[in-house]
Every structure is written in structure tokens, then in C-alpha cells.
């Protein structure tokens, strides 16, 4: 029993380390597989004012995370998009990934929809440093 517990703890620790490695790989654009640049697969601008250049793992749609990079390719925010209708229908979006564990501030606001997530939804934006919001603005 103790062995099994140790094994489980060990696996969790290994997973955490792996996540840390992944996090390092996501710091600069492009983040690589399985992420795709949103503007390559959807009719959206390459750099969206307020959101930056977005990458997403298609398997995680619609919630994301969408990884937001500034003009210099620096990871600046992790963004989640959750349709209001789905939330009202009791859909939960649990255990979502994150681009970086450093979060300086969070914005949550309504969006009427856009290609890719056409239903009215919430944008949950986790900024990864104090200047990130400014760098993504324009």
C-alpha cells in the first residue's frame, strides 16, 4: 500500500515536472504541436488588438487555453472562451491547461462571438506579467 502511494506521488511529481517543461516550451511563439496559429485556420487577423497572436490546441476548443503572444513572440496571456449558453446548460470546463503559472492579473468580459467561437461567450484572460496587457493592446 505504501509502495502504491509512493508510486502515485512519484507519478504526480513526474507529471508536474513534465508540465514545467511544457511551460518552458510555450514561452515563445510558435509553441509547436499540438498548437496551431488561430489565424492560419480561421478567418481572423494574425494579431488581434487586445488578444495578440493566438495559438490553440484544436482538441481543447472552445475553451482553450488560447496562448496569446505579443509582437515579439513572448507569451503574454492564457485566454479561455466559454460559451454562455453552455455554462447555463451546466457545462463545466474543468482542469484546463495554462500557458504559464505566473499570473499577474485576470480580466473577464463578454464577447459577442467571432469565427471559431461564434456563440456569445466569456473571455477569461490570465495575463502573465504586469506589462502583458499593454503589449497585447495594439
Amino acid at each position: 500500500m505504501i509502495k502504491q502511494t509512493l508510486l502515485a506521488v512519484s507519478l504526480v511529481a513526474t507529471a508536474t515536472l513534465a508540465q514545467a517543461h511544457d511551460e518552458a516550451a510555450l514561452k515563445a511563439a510558435p509553441p509547436g504541436d499540438p498548437y496551431v496559429q488561430v489565424s492560419d485556420v480561421l478567418p481572423l487577423p494574425a494579431f488581434i488588438p487586445g488578444l495578440g497572436t493566438l495559438f490553440v490546441n484544436p482538441d481543447t476548443l472552445p475553451a482553450g487555453p488560447f496562448l496569446a503572444y505579443d509582437h515579439d513572440g513572448k507569451l503574454s496571456a492564457s485566454i479561455y472562451m466559454t460559451p454562455l449558453e453552455e455554462l447555463e446548460n451546466r457545462t463545466a470546463y474543468d482542469g484546463l491547461g495554462i500557458g504559464s503559472h505566473a499570473v499577474s492579473s485576470v480580466d473577464v468580459y463578454y464577447n459577442a462571438g467571432h469565427p471559431g467561437v461564434e456563440k456569445p461567450h466569456a473571455h477569461v484572460v490570465l495575463y502573465h506579467d504586469a506589462e502583458a496587457k499593454g503589449r497585447l493592446a495594439e
Binding site: 478567418p43 481572423l44 487577423p45 467571432h114
Partner: protein
């Protein structure tokens, strides 16, 4: 009242009284309809969202929303199998997705009422109505009567023909 670039010429005594008052006559030309949105995409709209023009007017849709793409798509079976909300003799159009700064032109020649929408934003009632000519024009076809293919929000966002003819163009601020 905010008329478009080609100004309206009103006929006085010679006008038709089909709506209880003289109908305007609009000069054909080119008119711009902008696709607009707030910075965070909370609201999106066509500007103007309702418009009266003369038959033969060239309409140019321009995406002025820096953070979003839009379409101008006529309600018609040829466009995603939607029910027709343009005159039967009119050709449907679909701009496809316009990125910021891109534009699309269509010429409307058949008198009647044309309803159109933005594909990714129809759920947010980003729709528009264009009145071409007046009910006195030969071949005029009034607004679609269907109330099933579109949402209640879309129907509520489409002003009446009489209002559009009376005001020439309706903009978002006037709708709220």
C-alpha cells in the same frame, strides 16, 4: 436623419401616397456600409444597419473592425440553405469573410426588401435591412414574412420598411 453619400431627392406633389405620405426617391450611386465592433467585441454591428437606396445602387461593405472578421450574407437558399429574405428576382450575395480593411461590393437592382446577416455574428443579431426603391416601383417585393428561420432577436433588429423609407438610414445609436 443621416442620409448616405448620395443624397436623397424628395419628390413633392408627384410622389406616391402608398404609405400615407410622399415616398422618397433615392439617387443611385455608391453607398458604404461599415462592419464595426467594440474593442473587446462586446458589440458588433452594421453601420448603418438599415438603409434605403435607389435601384442600381452599388453597396460596398467595409470591415472597420480591427479585431474581428465579418461577412455580409443575404438570406437565401443558395447561402447555407437559409430561407429567402430578398426579392425573388434578386441575385443573392455572400461576401465571404472580410478581414479588417477588406471590402466587398454588390449592386442591388430589383426593388424590394433585402435582409442580410454576418455569418459568425448572426447569434448576436448582427443583421441589416436594405430597402431598394419604394413600394410604388414595378416588381416591388416587401419584407419576408417568415418568422421561423431567424431568431426573435434578429427579427427585432430589423426595422420596418416605413421607418427606413422615412429616415433613409438608421445607425446603431438610433437603435438603442
Amino acid at each position: 436623419m443621416s442620409w448616405t453619400r448620395r443624397q436623397v431627392i424628395r419628390l413633392g406633389g408627384g410622389a406616391i401616397a402608398a404609405l400615407g405620405s410622399p415616398l422618397p426617391v433615392f439617387a443611385a450611386g455608391e453607398t458604404v456600409i461599415e462592419m464595426r465592433g467594440t474593442a473587446r467585441g462586446e458589440r458588433i454591428w452594421f453601420d448603418p444597419f438599415a438603409l434605403a437606396v435607389a435601384p442600381g445602387t452599388v453597396l460596398r461593405f467595409v470591415n472597420r473592425d480591427p479585431g474581428n472578421s465579418h461577412t455580409a450574407t443575404a438570406y437565401h437558399p443558395e447561402n447555407y440553405d437559409r430561407l429567402r429574405r430578398i426579392p425573388a428576382k434578386a441575385a443573392p450575395w455572400d461576401s465571404d469573410f472580410l478581414l479588417p480593411g477588406e471590402s466587398f461590393e454588390v449592386t442591388l437592382r430589383v426593388p424590394g426588401v433585402y435582409d442580410y446577416y454576418c455569418i459568425p455574428h448572426e447569434m448576436a443579431a448582427m443583421v441589416g435591412r436594405i430597402v431598394v426603391g419604394t413600394p410604388a416601383d414595378p416588381g416591388w417585393e416587401g419584407p419576408a414574412e417568415d418568422r421561423e428561420d431567424v431568431s426573435a432577436e434578429v427579427l427585432a433588429a430589423l426595422p420596418g420598411v416605413e421607418t427606413i423609407l422615412a429616415r433613409g438610414a438608421l445607425r446603431r445609436e438610433e437603435r438603442s
